[in-house]
């Protein structure tokens, strides 16, 4: 177990190093620091200003090879700073990126936590219901409804939700955010509702497939032969056994609760990490984008390792070696 965990961590670490190499190629080799400086300062910036800007951001060093000081290069800096979580300042407005991240995590979580806590049970319940009626018209209609829901672009859900609920019915504000406990629910309700709607189709379809596959197993027939009713078979036999594939799908999502939702946040004016990413796109802020992708990869790797561990806890047949 310990040996497995060590190997898994080493592999995860190697992947993160690979991601950093990819980001270096993309943001330092392909997109040259001169271009980044020019985009930040404008096309007509004098060469001295560009040189000054590059010096301030540490983009004036040799890219990879510096014979006199082998570790005084942008590549070494890139690795040193990312792995040390010293993210430096934004390319666009020189605000420390770490400060932005700290401010953004709260609003992001206030959106993603309710979305996750409501979405998962809802999707599971609907999927269980549809799977309960498998091979009937209810099941077929449910699957078609899922495909219909999946075929609508997220943009339409957002625009439709804002227009219908925010503008016509006036239940909730169209957009905005206030972190005070009295107001936060009012502002988060609409994005959570829209997020639920947008995700429900593919989730229900996936979980239904899991349940239907479990329901065709031998132990289900045994349970039924012993006289268990349909409801009991579903709740006591199928649901726990389907838990393992569901677990793998869910655990890997948990780290991403911290990074929030790019679309929902920017559309509903929630100042979370997703909004920070959108602002970085619009401002050509490569430093912030780099950090966001790095953190995303880090969280993904963490989620994968957590999934493997959860697997051993949930399934006694799995032993990690």
């Amino acid at each position: 177990m310990a040996a497995y965990l060590l190997r898994r961590l080493a592999w995860g670490g190697a992947t993160v190093l690979g991601v950093l190499a990819f980001l270096f190629l993309l943001f330092f080799v392909y997109a040259k620091p001169e271009d980044v400086a020019r985009r930040a300062l404008g096309e007509k910036a004098p060469p001295e200003a560009i040189a000054q800007w590059r010096a301030n951001h540490g983009y004036d060093k040799p890219a990879v090879w510096n014979p006199s000081h082998p570790f005084d290069t942008m590549l070494a800096d890139h690795y040193r700073r990312m792995l040390g979580f010293d993210f430096g300042n934004s390319d666009a407005d020189d605000v420390p990126i770490a400060k932005r991240l700290r401010q953004g995590v709260g609003p992001s979580l206030s959106l993603t936590l309710p979305l996750f806590a409501l979405g998962l049970p809802l999707a599971l319940a609907l999927a269980l219901l549809v799977a309960f009626f498998r091979e009937t018209y209810i099941d077929r209609a449910g699957v078609v409804a899922c495909v219909l829901a999946m075929s609508v672009s997220m943009l339409i859900y957002i625009l439709g939700g804002q227009y219908l609920i925010g503008k016509l019915l006036r239940w909730f504000p169209i957009s905005g955010f206030d972190a005070s406990p009295a107001l936060i629910a009012r502002f988060v309700a609409l994005p959570v509702l829209v997020g639920l709607l947008a995700g429900i189709g593919s989730d229900v379809r996936f979980y239904r497939a899991v349940f239907v596959e479990e329901a065709s197993r031998d132990y289900v027939r045994t349970a039924r032969a012993k006289g268990a009713g349909d409801g009991r078979v579903m709740a006591r036999h199928v649901l726990p056994n389907a838990g393992i594939p569901i677990l793998t799908n869910v655990v890997v999502e948990i780290p991403f609760l911290f990074t929030g939702s790019i679309l929902l946040e920017s559309f509903f004016g929630i100042p979370g990490l997703g909004s920070i990413t959108v602002d970085a796109i619009n401002a050509n802020d490569f430093a912030t984008l780099r950090v966001m992708v790095f953190l995303g990869a880090l969280l993904f790797v963490a989620g994968q390792i957590a999934t493997d561990l959860a697997y051993t806890l949930a399934d006694p047949r799995v032993r990690l070696e």
């Binding site: 190697a14 992947t15 993160v16 690979g18 991601v19 190499a21 990819f22 980001l23 993309l26 943001f27 392909y30 997109a31 495909v147 219909l148 999946m150 075929s151 609508v152 672009s153 997220m154 943009l155 339409i156 625009l159 804002q162 227009y163 503008k167 596959e213 065709s216 991403f256 990074t259 790019i262 679309l263 990413t277 959108v278 796109i281 619009n282 050509n284 490569f286 984008l289 780099r290 966001m292 992708v293 995303g296 990869a297 993904f300 790797v301 994968q304």
Partner: protein
């Protein structure tokens, strides 16, 4: 080469490639029967797709009028644009079938002829919505054309030969897969620049991961099967085994994944458009522009409705066909049904 000529070449190339693939599929009994079964199950969805393909081809082929006034350079117009009058543009918004402009009420040049109204620049919404099919199919087609061959080129040898090569490929796949795809897309497009080809390349990188993982994993499995061993015992070369015995047996999985990825690609482009880094003329861009129109009073909905209906219709049709293709071609689902 002029832009519209290159564009014509791409359209003709993609169409010819599609036709060649269809002909190749007809030669194999398995594929012919599979496709016939898909057509039997999903006639409507296939008709919708065929309609959009036709519109996309019409919108892709463009040429200049020979009889341009001397001294002026005629703008190349596509075959789709030629179905509409030449100066079909109004000055601003007009409602569907209206005779006057939406704001101010000035008379239109073509009263009652704009079936779906006009947008903020006075362009005919129906014309824009049909033209959006070109971008959508280009996004799905060109991206797959980049991603699938590269994935096979890398994934199949990795799975077949194993060893260091496989380690390297597996590392590349897991590195790319560990970046959340929307963030990876955003990073790629901002770094390599905005434009049709750039967006397709960025989408190809993210979808390459799927295809490469699939090709590698399936080759690993096929390599051990008896018929491959038999081919080897009969003295077939490695190249022959890979090209004649392994790659054709990946065909159905690639086809299934292609159709299921296609709708994801088109939806991703819509998201990129909304983030301001999409492709000009796409439905996503029309939806993006329609954002402010919903907050106007009275609401301007025809622009948004046309783009989102077109997007929804294509995605739904592709998803339905994708499900049928999977049911028909995937031997695993076959076993589940029987």
């Amino acid at each position: 080469m002029e832009a519209h000529v290159a564009q014509n070449a791409v359209a003709v190339g993609l169409a010819a490639g599609g036709a060649a693939l269809a002909l190749a599929a007809r030669r194999s009994l398995l594929w012919r029967e599979g496709l016939r079964e898909v057509a039997r199950r999903r006639p409507l969805a296939l008709a919708v797709i065929a309609f959009f393909v036709a519109m996309a081809l019409l919108a892709s082929i463009s040429w200049r009028d020979a009889a341009a006034a001397p001294g002026t350079l005629a703008v190349p117009r596509s075959a789709l644009d030629r179905l509409f009058p030449a100066d079909f543009q109004e000055r601003s918004y007009s409602a569907p079938l209206a005779a006057v402009e939406f704001y101010g009420g000035a008379p239109l040049r073509h009263p009652g002829r704009h079936l779906l109204g006009t947008d903020i620049l006075g362009r005919d919404v129906l014309q824009l919505a049909l033209g959006g099919a070109r971008v959508a199919l280009l996004v799905g087609g060109l991206t797959s054309l980049i991603a699938i061959p590269l994935a096979l080129l890398v994934g199949v040898p990795a799975g077949y030969f194993g060893g260091r090569l496989d380690d390297a490929v597996f590392f590349a796949i897991s590195t790319l897969a560990s970046m959340p795809s929307i963030l990876l897309l955003i990073a790629l497009v901002t770094a390599i620049g905005r434009g049709t080809v750039q967006v397709c390349v960025a989408l190809a990188v993210t979808s390459w991961v799927h295809f490469a993982r699939l090709a590698r994993g399936e080759t690993l499995k096929l390599r051990e099967l008896d018929y491959v061993q038999a081919a080897r015992a009969l003295g077939a070369s490695e190249a022959r085994i890979v090209l004649r015995h392994i790659v054709p047996n990946l065909g159905h999985l690639v086809a299934i994944t292609f159709v299921l990825t296609f709708s994801q690609l088109v939806l991703s482009e819509a998201l990129l458009s909304w983030l301001g880094i999409g492709i000009d003329g796409s439905w996503g861009q029309m939806i993006d522009q329609a954002r402010d129109e919903l907050s106007r009073d009275p609401v301007i909905a025809w622009n948004l409705a046309a783009a989102s209906t077109a997007l929804f219709a294509l995605i739904l049709a592709v998803n339905r066909v994708g499900d049928a293709v999977r049911d028909v071609l995937d031997p695993r689902t076959l076993r589940e049904r029987s």
